[in-house]
């Protein structure tokens, strides 16, 4: 029998509950691995040089910036190169994580408009790609350290937790901006500009010893969010010392807070993505 339905309105603000059979997490893990592999393929499909370029790019950066900024820092090129690389490699990982993640959800309509996939999978895969690039940066860093005498000290062990925290920080900040970029696409250029400002005002390029202690720049360095982050790496690689406790605490707070906020934004706003993709 055919049932003709008359519309009836129920009071607004009623319950909202969606229980769509969840796909097993194993499916998504498998998808994430496949997605990362396929993205790597896309990236290098037409450029065999791509893989080599990943290694050459940080080295090229190093050479150019070392020559230019060693003059500004009144330092020898060789000495400054180590200092620079100690900050540059983690900085580039952070920057690539953030800029890689930022478009991941906004460009993910092909997936999120068709499958009830968890949205975290997109910034996560973008971050994994940035992490793959970072490995090339680490190889380049190792090559530089191999050329130096007395570079291999016990303090390099602190790089293991430092890299872990840096990775978490990149994923967290990247996820936050990936979510915001869905709703306002001009977030991306704003973030890009902010990152440039952060980079050029940070201790990545300018040595603390090259600036007067009471100057405004010294005060800026004290409050600069990148100071503790790159400090973890500069201490171990350049100063041959254990990183300061303050740096550990601050970076741990930054990383935990950002990943928590990113997760919170994702879970709160996931249901609205559909309308903006």
């Amino acid at each position: 029998m055919i049932a003709m339905h008359a519309s009836q309105s129920l009071p607004r603000g009623d319950t909202r509950e969606t229980t769509v059979a969840p796909r097993p997490n194993a499916h998504f893990r498998q998808f994430a691995v496949q997605y990362v592999l396929s993205q790597l393929k896309v990236r290098y499909r037409l450029a065999w040089l791509g893989r080599l370029w990943n290694l050459l790019e940080p080295l090229l950066y190093l050479v150019v910036l070392s020559v230019v900024f060693s003059v500004l820092n009144d330092s020898s090129v060789r000495d400054f190169a180590v200092y620079l690389f100690a900050g540059l490699v983690p900085w580039r990982y952070l920057e690539r994580s953030i800029m890689g993640c930022i478009d991941s959800i906004a460009d993910g309509g092909w997936l999120l408009r068709r499958i009830a996939a968890p949205a975290y999978i997109l910034p996560l895969t973008a971050w994994l790609l940035a992490s793959a690039d970072f490995i090339f940066g680490l190889i380049a860093l190792t090559l530089v350290l191999l050329l130096l005498e007395n570079a291999w000290t016990i303090h390099l062990l602190s790089l293991i937790p430092a890299i872990f925290l840096l990775g978490i920080l990149g994923l967290g900040v990247g996820t936050i901006f990936a979510v915001l970029n869905v709703f306002a696409r001009d977030i991306k250029p704003l973030v890009q500009m902010t990152l440039i400002l952060l980079f050029f005002s940070s201790p990545v390029l300018i040595k603390r010893s090259a600036i007067p202690i009471d100057s405004h720049l010294a005060q800026l360095f004290d409050w600069h969010p990148l100071t503790p982050v790159v400090g973890l790496f500069q201490s171990a690689i350049y100063l041959h010392a254990w990183p300061a406790a303050r740096d550990w605490i601050l970076v741990t707070i930054f990383a935990s807070a950002s990943v928590l906020l990113g997760w919170l934004l994702l879970s709160k706003l996931r249901h609205r993505f559909y309308y903006y993709l």
Partner: protein, 261 residues
């Protein structure tokens, strides 16, 4: 009594026109001031529906009536503003098949099969065994290594259908997928669909092809401007829908039926 496989209760989906348009930080700041209810439109209104396991349900309605939105709500892609959607647990829901199953435009058809297959729980090894069947079924042997962004809508749909049905899904959602393929492919797809239905797959199809729905579905629902107009055996709902096109608006038709008793 067996609980329904898919259960929808008082589901509302509303699209806010302003939200959909706003893409800048400034728009969001301004919209805090000028937002109003008048800017939103109901895509689905107060939809309640039960779909039993193994059922073949067709959804009909004019353009903009909410058919695809309803399918997306069932797929879990759209979370309704109000109401309850429940799909029985431990069921494999094939991704919504329309033009692209969730295909990455830059990847080739083959790579997309591996990628999309992983979401269906098909491992790389299993896909190695299935890929030839998918290529043969989709008739895309010459194009399977081309990026899918170069595919026509028919090619997309063929690959999407072949992939989604290569492993027996519990629920298959089809959105106009059979409208873009050629007659030979439609025939082949229907045969596979019938085989799956014989094996217990629940199928929900959205289509403008009323004859196809009447022959393939045991039950039809008719949506009009997001409101459920009719729900019942296919021939009867199809007849009512056809008549609505001839005699006037669906609202008139509904009132007349009620008046007739």
């Amino acid at each position: 009594m067996t609980p329904p496989l898919i259960h929808l209760q008082n589901v509302d989906v509303r699209f806010n026109r302003h939200r959909i348009r706003s893409k800048r930080v400034w728009d969001h700041l301004v919209s805090r001031v000028g937002r109003s209810e008048a800017q939103s439109v109901f895509a689905l209104r107060d939809i309640s529906l039960n779909i039993a396991s193994g059922e073949r349900l067709g959804i009909i309605g004019r353009n903009g009536s909410g058919k695809s939105t309803l399918l997306r709500v069932i797929a879990g892609v759209i979370v309704p503003e109000r109401g309850t959607v429940a799909v029985a647990e431990a069921r494999t829901l094939a991704p919504l098949i329309e033009l692209g199953i969730g295909f990455h435009p830059e990847l080739s058809g083959r790579e997309n099969c591996y990628l999309g297959g992983s979401l269906l729980g098909i491992t790389r090894k299993e896909m190695d065994a299935q890929i030839e069947d998918i290529i043969a079924f989709s008739e895309l042997r010459d194009f399977i290594d081309e990026p899918v962004k170069s595919y026509s809508s028919g090619m997309y749909a063929r690959l999407a259908f072949a992939l989604a049905t290569c492993k027996h899904p519990d629920i298959l959602l089809l959105d106009e997928v059979l409208s873009v393929g050629d007659q030979f492919f439609v025939k082949k797809s229907l045969a596979r669909m019938q085989r799956l239905m014989g094996e217990g797959t629940t199928v929900v199809i959205v289509s403008h092809n009323l004859d196809l729905l009447v022959t393939q579905c045991s039950r039809l629902i008719w949506l009009e401007r997001g409101v459920l107009q009719a729900d019942g055996p296919s021939p009867e709902v199809a007849a009512a829908y056809r008549q609505s096109g001839v005699t006037g608006s669906p609202m008139d038709y509904r009132h007349r039926l009620h008046a007739d008793g």
